[in-house]
Amino acid sequence: MAGETASDADIEAIRKLYGFDRPILVQYLDWLQRAIAGDLGKSYYFRTDVSSLIGERLPTTMMLGVSAITFAIVFSVPLGVAAAIRPNSIIDRVALFLSVMGQALPSFWFALMLIILLSVNLRLLPTSGSDTWLHFVMPTVVLGYYAAPAIMRLTRTGMLEVLSTDYIRTARAKGLRPSVVLFKHALRNAIIPVVSLAAVQFGFMLGGSIVVETIFALHGAGFLAWESITRNDLPTVQGLILVFSLFYIVLTFLADLLNAWLDPRIRIS
């Protein structure tokens, strides 16, 4: 949706954004002026620059987000393809079943259940901290699973549509091997909207990271958000809202760009 409007409107959007949240406009404009220059003020709690504070914590969240979206894609795309090849088969029903289940599962509860299961009962994974990659396994799954159903469904629908097109018929008539028809010809077209969706979902993961990082005590930006809110550390909270919003906007643009770039019909015109 964001892509439908003009891009300069989006820069305005950030400005207006804070006009809605706070009544004291002047204070805001002042803060904003400094924010755009890179100065986000000083944290009430930590007594350091908000910008360096966020800068310190952001990489952890980024790592988490990247691994989460990768997990979601690696899990959902093959499942969606398999479901599309054999509609109404067992794999199709399993895929749809999982997708329905996944959308209803509250993330914080899922996190706790995983902790009980994997850390306590089976002693496989650590429960908190961020020292080794093992610490990231459960958070990745908990953050990523929520994006999986949408990606799976879009892949499945896209593949179903593509597989019935004329050009796939041509590919088969040319005697190309089934794997080539599927992965080179079909997937390449079906995947275009999925890539956009993944970019947008990646943006949502920032919001999701608040809950996940807090439960698993990962010191990322999400955890910082929760800490700052509960401590009424206003400058940090404002800074985080700004940064998160920027991310959303950039990722939505990226999604549109990817969409256009991957489809030669749009790219070359």
Binding site: M1, A2, E4, T5, A9, D10, E12, A13, I14, K16, L17, F20, D21, P87, N88, V100, M101, Q103, A104, L105, P106, S107, F108, W109, L112, M113, I116, V120, L160, S164, L206, G207, G208, I210, V211, T214, A225, W226, I229, T230, N232, V237, L240, I241, F244, S245, Y248, I249, T252
Partner: protein, 296 residues
């Protein structure tokens, strides 16, 4: 039925698509049953709950549910850390979830519909402003903003409903806007063709059902969305406040003891999961049933 060269058969025979519809119906039936059951439970809470959900009995703290050897039938789902009956809290918790879901959806539905219709109807600058606001809303990290606002204003049931209502209107706005634009374009076509009566007939038979169908689907989505968000907010301590039996809050209160008393988090979690699942199934069912028929 004449054969056609255009027999583009997908790999479902008609039989396959029919069973699919029945399966979809199945999901919808299950979902509807659960939803109505939860509504009934919420409405009849005072009659159904064996105990007062707020009544504490520190002598009876952390009793396990009836299926455990130490459990009893007096407290079917056991008690929490303050000795309050879990089943009763669960039942009253249904009220909270439903209130939040429906309340937030109503508010956001109202806001979104008004904005969308105005944008579609007036066009021009009004449309620009609304689209703008939608963009702004879409760039906001909802969880973060909701948390921040609740932190400032203070958590309570009303605050949560209001905040969520003020944040979840975007999809309503988008859909109502495009539907209104669709109707408007029909107006112009009608004017050009000077066929007054049939336009309203087309409106009623084609456009309105489509709009209503979309509205229902989005409403179910946003209700489920609101319920999950409230649960997450309450879990983080910035939603509904104790001693209210919000399911999210119950999970939060139970998490410190979850290793030895896992039922404290499994029971409310399952309840949340089932309710959201049921709502989603209903919404999916409505979409599946009405969409292909619209195409015919």
């Amino acid at each position: 039925m004449p054969i056609t060269d255009e027999v583009k058969l997908d790999d479902e025979s008609k039989l396959g698509s029919l069973t699919k519809k029945i399966r979809g119906h199945q999901g919808m039936i299950i979902g509807s049953v659960i939803v109505f059951a939860v509504i009934a439970i919420a409405l009849l809470a005072p009659l159904l709950a064996p105990h007062d959900p707020y009544e504490q009995d520190l002598m009876k703290r952390l009793l396990p549910p009836f299926w455990d050897s130490r459990g009893s039938w007096e407290h079917i789902f056991g008690t929490d850390h303050l000795g309050r009956d879990y089943l009763s809290r669960l039942i009253y918790g249904a009220r909270i979830s439903l209130l939040i879901g429906i309340g937030a959806a109503l508010i956001s539905g109202l806001i979104g519909t008004i904005m969308g219709v105005m944008a579609g109807y007036f066009g021009g600058r009004v449309d620009m402003v609304v689209t703008f606001l939608i963009t702004v809303r879409l760039s906001m990290p909802v969880v973060l903003v909701a948390l921040a606002v609740v932190a400032i204003v203070g958590g309570s049931l009303q605050v949560v409903i209001t905040v969520l209502g003020l944040l979840l209107w975007d999809r309503f706005a988008v859909v109502m806007r495009s539907s209104t634009l669709q109707i408007r374009s029909m107006d112009y076509v009608a004017a050009a063709q000077a066929v007054g009566c049939s336009v309203s007939r087309v409106l009623m038979t084609e456009v309105m059902p489509n709009v209503v169908n979309n509205l229902i689907v989005i409403t179910t989505i946003e209700i489920a969305h609101a319920i999950i968000l409230e649960a997450a907010l309450s879990f983080l301590g910035l939603g509904v406040q104790p001693p209210l039996p919000s399911w999210g809050l119950m999970v939060s209160e139970g998490k410190d003891m979850m290793l030895f008393e896992p039922w404290l988090i499994t029971i409310p979690g399952v309840a949340l999961f089932l309710l959201v699942l049921a709502i989603n199934l209903m919404g999916d069912g409505v979409r599946d049933i009405t969409a292909p028929e619209n195409r015919n």
